[in-house]
């Protein structure tokens, strides 16, 4: 009697190889990641805490949904606030696994406190736009219109990324404006505009888009506009390095990038 080794279907061969890889991969040590995250059953589990700048609210919420579909056993919690607030929380010991900031300065604060695992990666860019109520009742066309008397302009404190970016833009345009209030984060500016309590503010263009036409934007010319660079990094000591890196990989990978683009972010 002669036995013949069955010939495997090519796809089955690929699948088995991947399985073997995944089973043995943790033993080979982890490496920082880029690449694709095709939907293969994985061993990631547990909770993952992400601190993200307020302007990432829409995009990261969608990314979380997609990520959790891929890794159903990972329970992701996202904490949105001003990057400056978040960085101070991390420095004070908040149990965060991933930090996504709206500027590099706040990330440097965390890095200086030796709390980063690895180096940060830039994953998105954003630009600034003037936000006004729908219909632009105050008739703002340029940055210098912001100093019109009687206009209520709000911004954030200088420590908050949008606060610093706005000052830079205004300085470049040679315009001085006295704000009526310094909101805790960029969404606070949006809220005041939508509530009708403030007339104008400077926010990210993604924020204007996110209001779904409830507010409208006035473009800031590219030569005076600033480009906001968004870094992301894992935080040391959390014990969730694999999940953290998986998250970062997703954000910087094709799926994450296309979600970010759909919200108006540009490539890093």
């Amino acid at each position: 009697m002669v036995f013949r080794v069955p010939k495997l279907h090519p796809n089955a061969l690929v699948a088995i190889s991947f399985l073997m890889l995944l089973v043995f991969a943790p033993a080979c040590g982890s490496s920082s990641t880029t690449s694709s995250t095709a939907g293969v059953a994985d061993s990631l589990s547990g909770s993952l805490t992400v601190s993200a700048a307020s302007s990432l609210q829409g995009a990261f919420t969608d990314i979380k949904a997609a990520f959790q579909k891929m890794h159903p056993d990972v329970n992701v919690t996202i904490n949105f606030a001003a990057s400056s607030t978040l960085s101070q929380q991390i420095i004070a010991g908040a149990p965060v696994d991933v930090f996504a900031a709206a500027d590099e300065a706040t990330m440097i604060n965390v890095s200086d406190a030796k709390l980063l695992s690895g180096t940060p990666t830039l994953f998105a860019s954003n630009s600034l736009e003037i936000i006004v109520r729908r219909g632009n009742p105050s008739k703002i066309a340029t940055l210098s219109d912001l100093s019109k008397s009687g206009l209520i302009y709000v911004t954030c404190a200088p420590a908050v990324p949008i606060g610093r970016y706005s000052s830079q833009v205004l300085q470049k345009a040679g315009v001085t404006v006295t704000p009526a209030s310094l909101e805790p984060d960029v969404k606070g500016i949006v809220a005041k505009i939508l509530a009708g309590e403030a007339d104008a503010g400077i926010v990210y263009s993604t924020d204007v888009r996110a209001t779904d036409d409830a507010a409208q934007g006035v473009v800031i010319p590219a030569d005076i506009n600033v480009v906001a660079k968004y870094p992301i990094a894992a935080i040391t000591g959390s014990g969730k390095t694999t999940s953290a890196e998986a998250w970062i990989a997703f954000v910087t990978g094709t799926a994450g990038q296309s979600i970010l683009k759909s919200y108006g972010f540009t490539s890093p």
């Binding site: 400056s84 209520i152 404190a157 420590a159 009526a180 209030s181 310094l182 509530a195 009708g196 309590e197």
Partner: protein, 279 residues
């Protein structure tokens, strides 16, 4: 057999609470003391004076004191008549009115701020009328700070004074009426002096609460140095940029509040604020 010490300590020894209660109370005391001790330990004492006397700190301190004193004055002027009506005048729906006036005691202050917007903001009930008639915009203004603080702090005064009025013996006021005093005269010369301890305690409580007010202030009045950035807001912001300054400002606020509480002694513990002025 229990051993009692000699002399004066004997009766103190007999009065001492059981050991278990003492132990639990000691833990509770530690629970309250530790945060303040920790604060004092973390404060950068070397830089403390320079951090305290920066223009932003001094401005915030001055603004806090001014606005809280105004808020206290308003609380007294409006709170005492309100307390009287609630204590003495039975009208249909009084319970509902009382609950309404005391609501901001239990509300999260931020909610209070949101509600203030709904009343006095540009798109609120009265916002445009206020602007048309008085040229006044309350949000983002110092007046708005005073309004927010009054909204949050007045119920403390109302509660204290109302309790004292309820506890007063009405016959004193009856006696005054039979002697020829009108209701107002009797109120001024008999009732008010009789509730003076409670009034003072209520005013001090309201002032302390106004001084520490954060949520309604930052939501309604906003945050701008010199105009609406009070001490608590200043501490909040300093946390992100200059933690040392936040610590120093916190210690100052605690010192003020601590001093206030010490000066009140036991008078504000409800029920012991009626009538007898000690001589």
């Amino acid at each position: 057999m229990t051993r009692l010490r000699t002399g004066r300590n004997r009766s103190a020894g007999l009065q001492r609470p059981p050991a278990a209660i003492l132990a639990i109370a000691a833990i509770a005391i530690a629970f309250f003391a530790l945060p303040f001790i920790g604060l004092l330990w973390r404060v950068p004492w070397g830089d403390a004076w320079s951090l305290l006397t920066t223009p932003s700190s001094l401005t915030a301190l001055r603004l806090s004191i001014e606005t809280s004193l105004w808020a206290t004055a308003l609380s007294i002027v409006f709170g005492v008549p309100l307390a009287w009506v609630l204590a003495r005048y039975g009208f249909p729906g009084r319970r509902i009115v009382r609950a309404l006036c005391l609501l901001s005691l239990v509300l999260p202050p931020v909610v209070g701020g949101v509600a203030l917007f709904a009343a006095y903001g540009r798109r609120g009930l009265l916002g445009d009328s206020l602007f048309d008639w008085f040229g006044m915009r309350l949000p983002f203004s110092t007046a708005g700070v005073v309004l927010a603080q009054t909204f949050i702090a007045m119920p403390f005064l109302v509660l204290t004074v109302e309790a004292a009025l309820r506890g007063l013996d009405r016959r004193s006021e009856d006696a005054a009426r039979t002697l020829g005093a009108s209701r107002w005269y009797a109120f001024r010369r008999v009732t008010l002096p009789a509730i003076r301890p409670a009034l003072i305690a209520g005013a001090v409580l309201a002032w302390a609460r106004a001084l520490g007010e954060f949520g309604a202030t930052i939501t309604f009045a906003g945050n701008f140095p010199g105009r609406t950035q009070t001490m608590p807001l200043s501490v909040y912001l300093a946390l992100e940029s200059n933690p040392g300054q936040a610590l120093v400002l916190s210690v100052v606020m605690i010192a003020i509040s601590f001093g206030v509480l010490l000066s009140l002694r036991d008078q504000w513990l409800g029920g012991s604020t009626t009538g007898r002025s000690s001589q």
